[in-house]
């Protein structure tokens, strides 16, 4: 089989990126998942249950909205894929609905997850409540502080939120703690990873579960523009799950420009950034060989972004391959530009985006899109969770 952007090799490689670099304690669980995930995903019973939940619980399909005032401002044709209208307020739930059904079929009774901005934690706590499963979410102590509403939402949903206290106490450290929990609970527990990261088969599994985003985009674009293919698809990238979902069904369409937007923090080379495609080199993080921010000794360095969902020192191996092969264009956006994009989208379209999503919106003026070009921006999440940050930086925004 020829590996493609959509389909990694049997060992989970996209080009030189991917694989499963895990201690033996994780091997049986990861191997079980690897052997079964494709069969389970293809099972008609699974598909029926998954599709029904996506429709009746998540609220799919999400609209593709023509953003006329933004379009006028940037002199191009901008469409917003409204993942912010998903139940729980972001695309993350597409993945957790699929993985909870998978976990049930694997006979697991206990669910763990990591979360950065809290959206994946909330989406996991939500489906655990729905299915009556025990749920433990690891979250960096710093992130718990800057995304308080989501901590309360998770607790309200019945999940236990455990603070990750090591390292920079953000997403990377929460992921470490979740992995350590899985090592300690190898039999009854399924780990619902929130992004296209981690050991194979997670990047492929999560990409497939998020692929519904671009599947819907194609149908909606055909109805609205007369063509399934836009000129640009734009999405923000932390680990890269919303981008993977938005790109998925366009990966093998070379006419579509894929644009991945990373967080530049205070500036790409400021020392306070999360622009992994620029600053990263090949290495291993969380069981996957990918581009990651590290020092010359191979120690993983601390990323920074104002957005808790983007300050991850790696990117998914698919995205590393997209960057390396130049199939996707990577742009990095600083904190301040993202904050300005929050205000712009709020005032021009009446949609308050999440801080993560605002990075994608802030890239609009760098695309070089012409008046007849169709630009789809994956509006991955809504901004409610970021209100405290928006209030704090009101001067920069307004």
């Amino acid at each position: 089989m020829i590996p493609t952007y959509q389909q990694p090799t049997e060992r989970g490689y996209y080009g030189q990126f991917g694989g499963a670099f895990i201690p033996e304690m994780l091997y049986p669980n990861v191997e079980e998942l690897r052997q079964q995930y494709l069969d389970i995903l293809a099972d008609p019973g699974f598909q029926q249950e998954y599709q029904q939940l996506l429709r009746d619980y998540v609220g799919r399909p999400t609209p593709l909205f023509e953003a006329k005032r933004l379009s006028a401002k940037y002199n191009t044709r901008i469409y917003l894929k409204r993942e912010d209208l998903c139940h729980t307020g972001a695309h993350k739930v597409n993945n957790t609905v699929g993985q909870i059904l998978l976990a049930k079929r694997l006979g697991k009774t206990r669910i763990i997850a990591e979360t950065g901005a809290g959206q994946h934690g909330v989406a996991t706590a939500t489906v655990c409540a729905l299915m009556g499963m025990q749920c433990i979410v690891y979250m960096g102590e710093v992130d718990m502080e800057r995304q308080k509403p989501n901590v309360y939402r998770m607790r309200l949903l019945g999940a236990e939120v455990r603070a990750a206290m090591s390292g920079s106490r953000t997403l990377k450290d929460a992921t470490n703690e979740a992995i350590r929990d899985w090592i300690s609970n190898p039999v009854d527990t399924h780990y619902i990873i929130g992004s296209v990261v981690g050991p194979h088969p997670y990047p492929d599994l999560v990409a497939r579960l998020q692929a519904v985003i671009s599947e819907e985009m194609r149908k909606q674009l055909l109805a609205k523009t007369g063509s399934e293919l836009p000129q640009y698809v734009v999405a923000c990238v932390g680990g890269g799950s919303n981008a993977a979902g938005a790109f998925y069904h366009f990966l093998e369409e070379p006419s579509v420009q894929l644009v991945a937007v990373e967080a530049a923090g205070h500036g790409v080379h400021s020392g306070h950034s999360a622009a992994t495609s620029v600053l990263g080199t090949p290495g291993i993080i969380h069981g996957s060989r990918t581009l990651l921010m590290q020092d010359e000794d191979g120690q993983i360095t601390e990323p920074y972004s104002i957005s808790a969902g983007l300050d991850y020192p790696g990117i998914g191996p698919l995205h590393a391959f997209l960057a390396d092969s130049k199939r996707a264009r990577f742009i990095s956006i600083e904190d301040e530009a993202a904050l300005k994009a929050v205000a712009e989208c709020s005032r021009l379209e009446g949609i308050i985006p999440a801080l993560e999503t605002a990075h994608a919106l802030a890239a609009l003026d760098q695309l070089g899109a012409g008046p007849d070009d169709v630009v789809v921006i994956n509006l991955s999440g809504r901004g409610d969770k970021d209100l405290e940050t928006y209030i704090k930086y009101a001067d920069a925004i307004m």
Partner: protein
């Protein structure tokens, strides 16, 4: 080819004590004095931990020691520098380097093995190195430098995989005592752990076995030795080094408390 790990197991068939400590902890230049102290106090094998920023298989104690060691300036270059000439002082005790793959990859596996062998190391433990990658990319390099890999086995490792691991090395098998990261307490129901150790024993594997994770003192060491050729202690030693003025003396005292 002869190797100190093999020699250690030839010389002594029972109750081997393997001690892990983190290089560059508690102070950067404690590495070699602690190593000498452990050997002199009677440790049969010594694992030197190469600190990593994100040690996934380790509990809080080794995580913390790694953070301190990195802050102290420890890295592979410094470690190899420190170990230069160690075989004049510690001629026989096998030395294994334990750590995670990424720092080794960045150093270059070939370079790493050459430097490790030159520094007098006998074995390498990289828990996140996949078996297939070892066989396809690194086995020849390890052999060229007479470095023995050590692989982990857990209660969930399937029998055919245990056999494969047993075929891939000539050193010892690292039996992880139960679910959990390093330094955790044994929380398994009575009999579960024993059944696992006995199941492995009954496989009559080529390599001797050392039990690790959760072994912390004389009692747990002796109990583990009933089911294997010996045991590995790490976190408990690191704890014993915390806040002491004379780390080598504390290391020596700790080994004595386990053995005597």
């Amino acid at each position: 080819m002869t190797n100190r790990i093999k020699d250690a197991f030839d010389k002594k068939q029972k109750n081997l004590l393997n001690i892990y400590f983190t290089a560059g902890y508690p102070r950067l230049h404690d590495t070699v004095p602690i190593l000498k102290a452990l050997s002199a106090a009677g440790a049969d094998l010594i694992e030197i931990g190469m600190p990593f920023s994100d040690p996934l298989a380790d509990g809080p104690v080794i995580q913390q020691s790694s953070t301190v060691a990195l802050a102290n300036g420890m890295n592979l270059r410094v470690l190899f520098e420190q170990l230069r000439g160690i075989r004049q002082d510690v001629p026989e005790t096998p030395i294994l380097l334990m750590g995670y793959l990424n720092p080794v990859m960045q150093f270059g596996v070939d370079n790493f093995c050459r430097e490790a062998a030159a520094a007098g190391a006998d074995g390498i433990i990289l828990p996140d190195l996949p078996l297939d990658d070892y066989v396809e990319q690194y086995q020849d390099i390890f052999r060229r430098h007479n470095l023995r890999p050590v692989f982990l086995i857990t209660p969930q490792t399937a029998p055919e995989r245990i056999r494969r691991i047993d075929e891939l090395t000539d050193s010892f098998l690292y039996l992880v005592s139960g679910p959990g990261t390093t330094g955790g307490a044994n929380t398994q129901a009575e009999g579960v752990q024993e059944a696992y150790f006995q199941r492995i024993e009954a496989m009559h594997l080529r390599n001797p076995r050392l039990i690790g994770f959760g072994i912390s003192d004389r009692a747990s060491f002796q109990r583990a030795c009933q089911y294997a050729e010996g045991a590995i202690i790490g976190s408990a030693l690191i704890r014993a080094l915390d806040g002491v003025d004379d780390a080598p003396a504390a290391a020596s005292q700790f080994v004595s408390s386990v053995l005597k």
